[in-house]
């Protein structure tokens, strides 16, 4: 059973089981394909609509990547600013706490109204959705410098800026990683919701369109591509975080 212990083998086994279960449900229940197509039909649709799916997937992936990068950059910059400036903490922290109570997804229609049906509105929805978790996780990490290291900074007469970059920031990297983990989970939701609200391109748009035309197999194909995108995103992040942590000796 040694071959079973590789993660690839286990993954393939789980995938095979899931497909079998899916096909089994389709056969056993006898539901028509426009309600629930079997894996075979979806596979065929994936193959025949590959150029179409590719076109829309590219749009979605680009918005996802840009929104993610911009949201993370903005969140990191905000957290660093808050950690450095008591004035900024006084003014911005209540807003940040309040903003976490607002369901940011619900802002998607307003953002689409302001920014139109193109890529910018999707990018901004992704940015907004991930901005708050990244900011608050990183900021909390920055402010949780262990007391002995705080003493060290005082003894060595560190300036606030050097204290931030030499002590607080490396100490906050694990917290930033958990903020980023939330971000990569939320971002694919956010980009699809942005497209559902109003778009003429993207996998979210394709799903709505296929649904409207009764092309359930195409809808499932788009869903699979979307899931694959998310999975690639997660594994990229995990590989990156593991590499960083190893380098940082954590």
């Amino acid at each position: 059973m040694r071959w079973l212990s590789t993660s690839l083998m286990r993954g393939l086994l789980a995938l095979g089981f899931a497909l079998a279960l899916w096909q089994g449900v389709v056969w056993a229940s006898g539901v028509p394909p426009f309600i629930l197509p079997g894996p075979g039909r979806v596979g065929t649709s994936l193959w025949t609509n590959a150029p179409l799916l590719w076109e829309h997937a590219r749009f979605t992936a680009a918005n996802l990547a840009i929104g993610l990068a911009a949201g993370v950059a903005l969140g990191v910059a905000t957290a660093l600013n808050l950690a450095l400036s008591p004035g900024a903490r006084l003014l911005l922290r209540p807003m940040l706490i309040f903003a976490q109570a607002v369901p940011v997804f619900a802002l998607a229609p307003i953002i689409t109204l302001w920014l139109g049906y193109g890529a910018p509105s999707k990018i901004v929805v992704v940015m907004l959705v991930i901005y708050f978790p990244v900011t608050s996780a990183f900021f909390d990490g920055l402010m949780r410098l262990p007391a002995p290291l705080n003493d060290l900074a005082l003894m060595m007469r560190a300036t606030p800026l050097r204290r931030l970059f030499l002590l607080q920031l490396p100490n906050a990297l694990p917290a930033l990683a958990s903020g980023l983990r939330l971000a990569v989970v939320y971002a694919p939701f956010a980009v699809v919701i942005g497209e559902w609200v109003g778009s003429s391109r993207g996998l979210g748009y394709l799903m709505l369109m296929a649904n409207g035309r009764g092309q359930t197999d195409l809808m499932f194909a788009a869903l699979l591509v979307l899931a694959a995108q998310s999975l690639i995103l997660f594994s990229l992040f995990e590989a990156l975080a593991r590499g960083r942590m190893k380098k940082a000796g954590r």
Binding site: D151, A153, L154, M155, A158, R162, L167, P170, G249, R250
Partner: protein
């Protein structure tokens, strides 16, 4: 020179911690401050190092020369204050980097060799033993090159044999500095101090120490006798002192 003097009452919030303090810590000598846990030893360390805390001194702390202490005190604490993400060289040079100065890497490597960590310069604290971590902390104190050094129970987390080795090393390398050794270990105070106080809530009293030079031989009769006397005193001392 950089002799130190503390006098007055030390308060923790609204409660008195140590009254009638009158500590003289002569220049270039080791002064031991011995006391049971909870008596306020670490508070004294923070006071001398200029670190903030919920304490208050009604009195004065300062160097005999009248110049401010800030910038002339290095401290080594029980947990070493090492950065878990940084290697030995980076840990030793953190002071310079925090002040925005150029770290002297060559000197850091020399000091690490002096404390017996040659070849381990690239290791991080989690790849070092407890004794090795305290060696890094000692190298950092030497790197800071301050005339006054506060050792706040620096070896109390180490096993007995490692502790003795670290005591010898610190005694050798910190020679010529004004060292304040804060400890709850009678043998440590007796081995290393030129001059020591026993701390209690009502003040500090000067301890009798053997005449031999430090670090004292822990097998010699005067050292053992002094240790025995001190242990007997601490053991039968008033219950408040032993409550910890």
């Amino acid at each position: 020179m950089t002799a130190l003097r503390i006098c007055g009452d030390l308060w923790m919030g609204a409660a008195p911690l140590i009254r009638n303090l009158a500590l003289e810590m002569p220049a270039q000598r080791w002064s031991g401050l011995l006391g049971p846990s909870g008596v306020g030893k670490s508070t004294l360390a923070r006071l001398i190092a200029g670190l903030p805390g919920p304490y208050r001194l009604e009195g004065a702390v300062g160097a005999e020369d009248g110049a401010p202490l800030a910038g002339r005190v290095a401290m080594m604490a029980q947990e070493g204050q090492l950065l878990p993400w940084a290697d030995c060289v980076q840990n030793v040079t953190i002071g310079a980097r925090l002040r925005g100065a150029r770290p002297d890497i060559a000197r850091a490597r020399r000091l690490l060799a002096q404390v017996g960590l040659k070849g381990m310069e690239r290791r991080r604290p989690d790849a070092l033993s407890g004794g090795q971590r305290q060696r890094v902390a000692l190298a950092r104190v030497l790197m800071e090159d301050c005339p006054i050094v506060v050792l706040d129970e620096p070896f109390s987390a180490l096993d007995t044999v490692t502790r003795l080795a670290m005591q010898d090393l610190a005694a050798k390398l910190l020679q010529g500095r004004t060292v304040i050794l804060i400890t709850h270990d009678p043998l440590e105070a007796i081995r290393l101090s030129d001059h020591a106080y026993l701390l209690g809530p009502d003040g500090a009293e000067v301890l009798d120490l053997p005449a031999s030079p430090t670090p004292r031989d822990y097998t010699a009769a005067p050292t053992l006798a002094a240790q025995a006397r001190l242990l007997a005193r601490l053991h039968r001392a008033d219950p408040a002192l032993c409550a910890g």
